[in-house]
């Protein structure tokens, strides 16, 4: 299935649209999406950006998702690099 993944912080610079579309298996988990994003970044950008993903969380509009959670279908997701508000 296709995942619409919004980009924030330093990862926003990966694509000027501010989002990516990644293909994952139907029963994919957050861990699978992380792996797909790392693979995309390693082939399209720098390894430094891929390493940021190792410390990033994944979220829907209303919650941070656990690593083992199945990806919710039809929901826009976001990748959240380490945060630095305030």
């Amino acid at each position: 299935m296709k995942i619409h993944l919004a980009l924030y912080g330093t990862l926003r610079e990966v694509d000027p649209r501010g989002w990516l579309e990644l293909e994952v298996a139907e029963a994919a988990t957050v861990a699978d999406l992380r792996a797909a994003l790392v693979a995309y970044l390693e082939s399209h950008t720098s390894n430094a950006r891929a390493s940021v993903v190792e410390r990033s969380a994944f979220a829907s509009r209303d919650s941070v998702l656990r690593e083992t959670s199945p990806l919710p279908a039809g929901v826009e997701l976001a990748v959240l690099p380490p945060v630095s508000g305030g």
Partner: protein, 171 residues
Amino acid sequence: MDNLRTLVVDASQTRLEVADAIAWVSDPRFGGIATFIGCVRGANLGRVVTGISYDIFRPLALHIFADIGAQARREVGDPLKLYIAHACGRLAVGDIAVLVAAGTPHRDEAFRACRLAIEAVKHASPIWKQEHYIDGDSAWSEGCSLCDAQSAEAGVAVAAGSHQHPHGHRH
């Protein structure tokens, strides 16, 4: 929650106003109001800063601000009024980036609620800052991984207690 006001404002259209926060938490029941005002600093790590651009995942940030309000209420009890606001977009040095106000009957609960809220906003909310320097360079700040928290509620708990920064920054 009636006693919680949360905002993410577009800095190009709206300024955060301390008076608004204080007015919102004021109440005849309350003798204590604590505020935290976070402003853009003109220097960081030896570099002259001219401004900061904030990026925020707004819907999730507002959910987490609500979780922070619930956590503050569990910590200090009722009655409590809490105001949490953060600016999004480009700010100049001296501009207010984040504003927290807590109103309670006495000062101890107000200080504790205010401290809990600002720490959780900084450590557990989906907000990122990009510093702009006088030489024209810009850089995204290092931050706290939300993977360590895994959930907003856990993140609030981490922020309220001891919290280590293995990446060596201070904020």
